[in-house]
């Protein structure tokens, strides 16, 4: 599953066409994503890719470095055990 990551109003914002979450830290983003995934997938390993939107950087910065970061995450969902 792929998400776009950005930073706005001092918060990280992670979104795709179906889901959007904003939080103060990336840990909170990850927790939110995990909860969202558990509503879709009952169990299994879910690969998540996050791509930072470099448009968030002021334009004059972009000439120095055109990339911030991408993330590859693996979430282990097991909602059946939780029940």
């Amino acid at each position: 599953m792929e998400f776009t990551l950005t930073f706005s109003d001092n918060q990280w914002v992670c979104y795709n066409a179906e889901f959007k979450i904003a939080a103060d830290s990336l840990d909170e983003i990850d927790t939110g994503i995990e909860k969202y995934l558990s509503t879709i997938y009952p169990s299994g390993k879910i690969q998540v890719k996050m791509f930072f939107d470099f448009d968030r950087f002021p334009q004059w910065h972009r000439q120095y470095m055109p990339h911030y970061f991408n993330r590859d995450l693996t979430f282990e969902i097991n909602t059946q055990n939780d029940n």
Partner: protein
């Protein structure tokens, strides 16, 4: 529409880094057409050395501007300048369009910058500023113009003048600066110029291969010094003495000790710092790069006029951002060549001192992707909350790798290939190559000097007291002296060849 780097080829037509490579390779390709007898680069205008009274007595544009080759010598000077303007505006405008810039603002901004750059370049070529009282290629310009006084600064005066004009605009005419800022892109201009310097490196290799390879390899030592000596010490001082948090200390350490703004953004991305940190640090780096650019070249020229390559390499380790480093290298090159000419009547070949500054910086640039990758792994391993088994994609190294260096190395490689495989075409190749790495490259440097001044706003230093203090102490108390020592160990005694020998 978001700007995302997903695939390896993303960004090839929308980043300034890639556009530096395309533009540089395009000009290089035009130059190579001389192999087949086509002069596709001689149209570019270049300034002539002139004298004020002589010009006023009998004004003529042909005393100020000329084409770069005789094939275009029949064209009036203002037509040559017009052609240069149209071609550069069109090519950079196409680049600006693909980079999602406002093309209308680009054209307006670039037109103003072009005009100001040429004014500075022409004024800088007035004989009282430029001419040196020595014979070069059988000619003494100082005596030819019958001067009674002169600053004898060579081409360095044009660079300093462009920088000064840029700084005045950036700090005292901020409304005007905001209007033309869209086109004030020193990194794009300088990286394109660096690609063309690959030609110079190729020619240097032909002339003195041992010297060039030694220069290139010794630059690798600079990378180790920057990453493994400067970085940990600045980080330690930032954390222990200045109470910076881990993220700020890491981002600032990279900015101060590695390669400036690009390193600070790469590091911040690697450790997933909030973007506000590299943005604040970048402002500081750009302003300090200006101090380094203005102070260090004349200081090194005065301190060690007999150690040109040491001075160049030391600049490469000390001055942050590619633009400021190349600009400082160009000033140093001009000042040292002029001073040596005045003192000894021998003219060192231009570009060797600049190449020493650049090769050192290029080695440092090459490793930024790997360094950020390592930092990212360290940061994740130390993050106890990382329960999600985050892996750092290998593609991060590629996305952070400066692509203009690939073009620079390709240009160098093509010259090496010709040298070893087809030496019979070298003479013709150099006809176009000399114009590409001469007038083209110098014009791009002039654009860089003016642009770097326009984007440097000293008022932004306000409120950065603690970071600015750490920067000052680290730069002048530690990095500059250690960089000089390392450069001395590797390069002392190395001299550029003397022109005509």
């Amino acid at each position: 529409m978001a700007t995302l780097n997903k695939k390896w080829h993303h960004g090839m037509f929308r980043t300034e880094d890639w556009w530096s490579a395309w533009l540089g390779l395009f000009f290089f390709g035009l130059g190579l057409l001389s192999i087949w007898g086509l002069d596709a680069v001689g149209w570019i205008a270049k300034p002539k050395t002139w004298e004020f009274t002589n010009l006023m007595n009998d004004f003529s544009w042909s005393k100020l501007i000329k084409s770069s080759s005789k094939a275009y010598g029949h064209l009036p000077p203002l037509v040559v300048l017009g052609i240069t303007y149209v071609i550069f505006t069109a090519l950079t405008g196409i680049g600006a369009y693909f980079q999602k810039m406002n093309v209308k603002r680009w054209i307006l901004g670039f037109s103003a910058i072009f005009l100001l750059t040429w004014m500075a370049w022409i004024v800088g070529h007035e004989a009282h500023f430029k001419a040196i009282d020595a014979v070069v290629k059988g000619k003494n310009q100082y005596q030819a113009f019958d001067l009674s006084w002169g600053l004898q600064l060579g081409g360095g005066f044009s660079f300093l003048l462009a920088l000064t004009i840029g700084l005045i605009i950036g700090n005292f005419f901020k409304g005007f600066a905001a209007k033309i800022k869209e086109a004030a892109k020193p990194e794009w201009f300088i990286k394109t110029a660096i690609v063309l310097l690959g030609i110079k490196l190729g020619m240097m290799t032909m002339k003195a291969s041992g010297f060039t390879y030694e220069l290139a390899l010794a630059g690798a030592a600079a990378a180790f010094v920057a990453y493994l000596l400067f970085w940990p010490i600045i980080y330690f001082v930032g954390r222990k003495w200045f109470g910076l948090n881990r993220a700020s200390a890491a981002v600032l350490s990279s900015g101060i000790s590695i390669c400036g703004v690009s390193a600070s953004i790469a590091t911040a991305g690697a450790i997933k710092a909030k973007p506000i940190i590299p943005i604040a640090v970048s402002t500081l780096i750009v302003i300090y790069a200006m101090f380094e650019l203005v102070i260090l070249p004349p200081a090194y020229t005065a301190m060690a006029p007999d150690q040109p390559i040491v001075n160049g390499a030391a600049l490469g380790m000390t001055v942050k951002t590619d633009g400021a480093d190349a600009a400082a290298g160009a000033i140093l090159d001009e000042l040292m060549v002029s001073k040596h000419l005045k003192l000894t009547a021998q003219k060192w070949e231009e570009g060797w001192i600049l190449s020493a500054a650049l090769l050192t910086k290029i080695w440092i640039d090459i490793f930024i992707g790997i360094w950020s990758f390592v930092l990212a792994i360290i940061w994740i391993r130390n993050d106890k909350s990382n329960k999600n088994k985050e892996k750092i994609p290998w593609s991060e190294i590629w996305f952070r790798f400066p692509k203009f260096i690939l073009a620079y190395l390709l240009v160098w490689g093509i010259y090496l290939g010709m040298m070893y495989l087809a030496p019979e075409i070298l003479h013709d190749a150099k006809l176009g190559g000399n114009i590409a790495q001469g007038p083209f490259r110098k014009f791009l440097f002039m654009l860089t000097f003016l642009s770097i001044g326009i984007i440097t706003d000293f008022s932004k230093l306000k409120g950065m007291g603690r970071l600015a203090l750490l920067y000052t102490i680290a730069l002048f108390g530690f990095i500059a002296p250690v960089a000089y020592l390392v450069a001395y160990i590797f390069h002392h005694g190395m001299l550029p060849p003397i022109l005509g020998q």
